[in-house]
């Protein structure tokens, strides 16, 4: 399965700032998925990103708050904008690299907002 690298692995940010999380995959994939995992909680899908098109956001998530870029088939970024303490979470990138409808995940980016 694919190897996914996320940067940063963790960060501490100030309220009101923005942070961009990078997701690099070692193979070309059509779709990339961004999830949020709040402390002690399960995974919530933020958006699905296809190369060359606008990301598709889930209910409760908007592009102004979580802009996503997908410039090529191996890379995506998620920005968390105008952060508040409620944005403190682990953000996970995932892909279906086999076409078998099975997800492979990165290790996640742990974000703490003070």
């Amino acid at each position: 399965s694919a190897v996914i690298s996320q940067k940063p692995s963790r960060d501490i940010c100030q309220r009101g700032t923005s942070l961009t999380i990078q997701c690099q995959v070692d193979s070309q994939v059509t779709m990339m998925f961004w999830y949020r995992q709040q402390p002690g909680q399960s995974l919530t899908l933020i958006a699905t990103a296809n190369q060359g098109s606008e990301a598709t956001y889930e209910s409760g998530f908007v592009i102004d708050k979580f802009p996503i870029s997908r410039p090529n088939l191996t890379f995506s970024t998620l920005t968390v904008s105008n952060m508040s303490p409620e944005d403190s979470s682990i953000y996970l990138c995932s892909v279906d690299d086999t076409g078998a409808n099975v997800l492979t995940f990165g290790a996640g980016s742990r974000l703490t907002v003070l």
């Binding site: 995974l43 699905t48 409808n101 997800l103 995940f105 996640g108």
Partner: protein, 113 residues
């Protein structure tokens, strides 16, 4: 509303016993359902996928069942070991197209030596 609920937040069992985890969903009709394992500080790792026309799927000590009438999947770990301690998540793809994957609430399993 659409929900994917797993039976309990935490489950403790003795080593050697069978752990049974439950995943119940409402307002979905998924073509397949998946189970993942998540260890602290890591992303989930895929374990098993079961399709709607499959009643049971096995992989080594793992067994999954899928009852589309009850809208329920059961995940069993037989002869459990302390190394099986982790959080287990069920997930489904509502449209069957591979465009969205929604996860259940998760069950934290602890196997006591």
């Amino acid at each position: 509303s659409q929900k994917i609920e797993q039976n309990s937040e935490a489950l403790n069992i003795q080593e050697g016993k069978t752990a049974t985890l439950t995943c119940n969903y409402t307002n979905y009709s998924p073509a397949y359902l998946q189970w993942y394992r998540q260890d602290p500080g890591r992303g989930p790792v895929f374990l098993l996928l079961i399709r709607e026309n499959e009643k049971e799927k096995r992989k080594e000590r793992l067994k999954v069942t899928f009852d589309t009438t009850l809208k329920q999947s059961l995940f069993h770990i037989t002869a459990s070991q302390p190394a099986d301690s982790a959080t287990y998540l069920c997930a489904l793809d509502p449209s069957g197209t591979g465009n969205q994957f929604y996860f259940g609430t998760g069950t934290s399993l602890t196997v006591i030596p």
